[in-house]
């Protein structure tokens, strides 16, 4: 029942020492902790992957949320890519579109897999299904992508936080983006150390991001935050694969995220009392949906 790693340093050291992938260390720890077989654990993750795949497909056909605030943007982006004139690159925009697709399905009360939460569920699958077209992974490698993401999420959840209510959007989409970046690096053949660099570079650039959902709903700006989380993670993964390193070690970046989250005003932690939620338009949307203005303290 032993935990194999408590932080990123231990995770990377163990992978390097035993010449294993990060995903393998996560699988071994899950077997240790749960007493379940490798086969059972793989099958459960395989089912999660299928849910993610179906959510992306559904979002790309176009969905609309109950409130009408979000939906349809994933389709707009795909149509734009098809015209062949994209500036930031087809793969990057494909990831953005698929991240948006997932969160649009989530807002429409469709079925998704929380990674690590529902509000940040788009980043990991968005990047996975975009990178898939370039790297042509096996089904097993795609499942491993989720274990690598999970290993980093596990460290963040136990040393800091992964929910917007506890630590702001940096804890939620920030963690998801870091998780995705690390998993992209492993799938692309990078080293365990490079997965940590990718995570660090990503999270560094999402530090301080607040959770300010309009009307308290997981729609605005959550869907677009997932879009940018996906873009951020792809760029950071490429930087790490190029050999760029973070001057601040990964665990210390996570520590910084934790302390920033602790000192963040409660108004900026999912209460819908600050940030975009407290703008004139944000308040007007809330009043229209709920019939009265959300109180701002």
């Amino acid at each position: 029942m032993d935990v194999l790693f408590h932080n990123v340093r231990e995770l990377v050291d163990l992978a390097e020492k035993e010449n294993k992938l990060i995903s393998e260390i996560m699988i071994e720890q899950e077997m240790n902790m749960s007493g379940r077989s490798r086969k059972e654990i793989f099958e459960q993750m395989d089912r999660n992957l299928t849910v993610m795949e179906e959510a992306v497909e559904r979002g790309l056909k176009g969905v609309q949320s109950v409130t009408g605030l979000t939906g349809g943007d994933a389709v707009l982006i795909q149509n734009y890519i098809a015209k062949g004139n994209s500036l930031s690159g087809d793969l990057l925009l494909d990831a953005v579109s698929k991240a948006v697709a997932t969160n649009e399905v989530n807002a429409a009360m469709g079925t998704i897999c929380a990674t690590p939460t529902a509000g940040s569920a788009g980043v990991v699958p968005g990047t996975l299904f975009a990178v898939k077209n370039k790297l042509n992974p096996t089904r097993e490698q795609m499942i491993r992508f989720l274990f690598t993401s999970g290993a980093y999420g596990f460290v963040v959840a136990n040393n800091a936080f992964i929910s917007g209510a506890a630590g702001g959007c940096q804890a939620e989409v920030g963690s998801a983006a870091g998780m995705a970046a690390a998993a992209i690096v492993e799938m692309a053949g990078g080293t365990p150390a490079q997965t940590a660099e990718a995570f660090a570079i990503t999270l560094k650039n999402m530090l301080g991001l607040v959770c300010d959902p309009v009307a308290g709903l997981v729609e605005v700006p959550c869907v677009k935050r997932n879009a940018m989380g996906a873009a951020n993670s792809l760029v950071a993964a490429d930087m790490a694969l190029a050999g760029v390193t973070s001057r601040i070690p990964c665990d210390e970046v996570i520590g910084a995220m934790f302390r920033i989250g602790q000192s963040m005003s409660p108004n900026l932690k999912e209460t819908a009392r600050g940030g975009l939620a407290a703008t004139p338009t944000g308040k007007a949307i809330a009043a229209k949906i709920f019939g009265s203005a959300v109180t701002v303290e």
Binding site: Q44, V51, A108, N158
Partner: protein
């Protein structure tokens, strides 16, 4: 360590839009139903804090009703749980409260049928994870992540030992146990988290122990 499994991070599979306001809410409803032991005929669902303020947009109401109908977090029927409730003749009332609770995402479910009533209070702590914080007025802390046994009994010497003995006889290992009472010598509650699901046979034996008035369980 709060999170022990990779599936706490990659999961749960759920109906959107919020892991705390939708999936967590469904889990609170389902655990409440488990504790009640059968499909309640009616329920009054009190919502507090952020649950009370944003339940419509998050589907917290349909999720709790879905949970009370035994739907899991990923069950598509959650979206139309009100229709299923009608079909089952299950009557419910959603009551947004203004009182402040310690935790922003709190729900109290008072449910019953012709054979009894029960009140269960639960909190949604993030990522779909929940805790049960009160049952029939007893404060407690139950995650629902492990099988558990709740035993209501008269506060008399030997009762706890008798229940523990019964579990030992069936080789059921106790992982965590809490005891509490409202007043000395009156009604008391044991909350026992165990390593495996409890069979009905064991439940029945415990219910026959002197001074035990009620036994409920959560299986996993």
């Amino acid at each position: 360590m709060k999170f022990t499994s990779v599936f706490d991070i990659i999961g749960p599979v759920m109906i959107g839009p919020s892991s705390s306001h939708t999936a967590g809410a469904a889990r609170i409803g389902r655990v409440a139903r488990d504790l009640f032991g059968r499909q309640p005929k009616w329920a009054k669902i009190h919502l507090f804090g952020s649950f009370a303020e944003t339940y419509q947009g998050h589907g917290t109401d349909v999720a709790i009703v879905g949970g009370l109908l035994d739907f899991d977090t990923f069950d598509e029927r959650i979206k139309t749980s009100f229709d299923y409730a009608k079909k089952e003749n299950f009557e419910f009332e959603i009551i947004p409260e203004t009182a402040n609770k310690e935790h922003p995402n709190t729900a109290r479910i008072v449910m019953g049928d012709e054979n009894g009533e029960m009140s269960v209070e639960g909190i949604s702590i993030g990522g779909g994870k929940i805790e049960i914080s009160e049952v029939n007025g007893f404060k407690l802390r139950l995650t629902g992540g492990m099988p558990a046994l709740l035993v209501v009994h008269d506060d008399r010497a030997g009762c706890i030992a008798n229940v523990a003995n019964c579990l030992a006889m069936h080789s059921v290992n106790i992982g965590h146990m809490e005891v509490s009472r409202i007043e000395r010598g009156q009604t008391a509650l044991m909350v026992i988290e165990v390593d495996q699901n409890i069979e009905d046979k064991i439940m029945q034996q415990i219910s026959l122990i002197p001074n035990v008035t009620k036994v409920s369980k959560i299986n996993n």
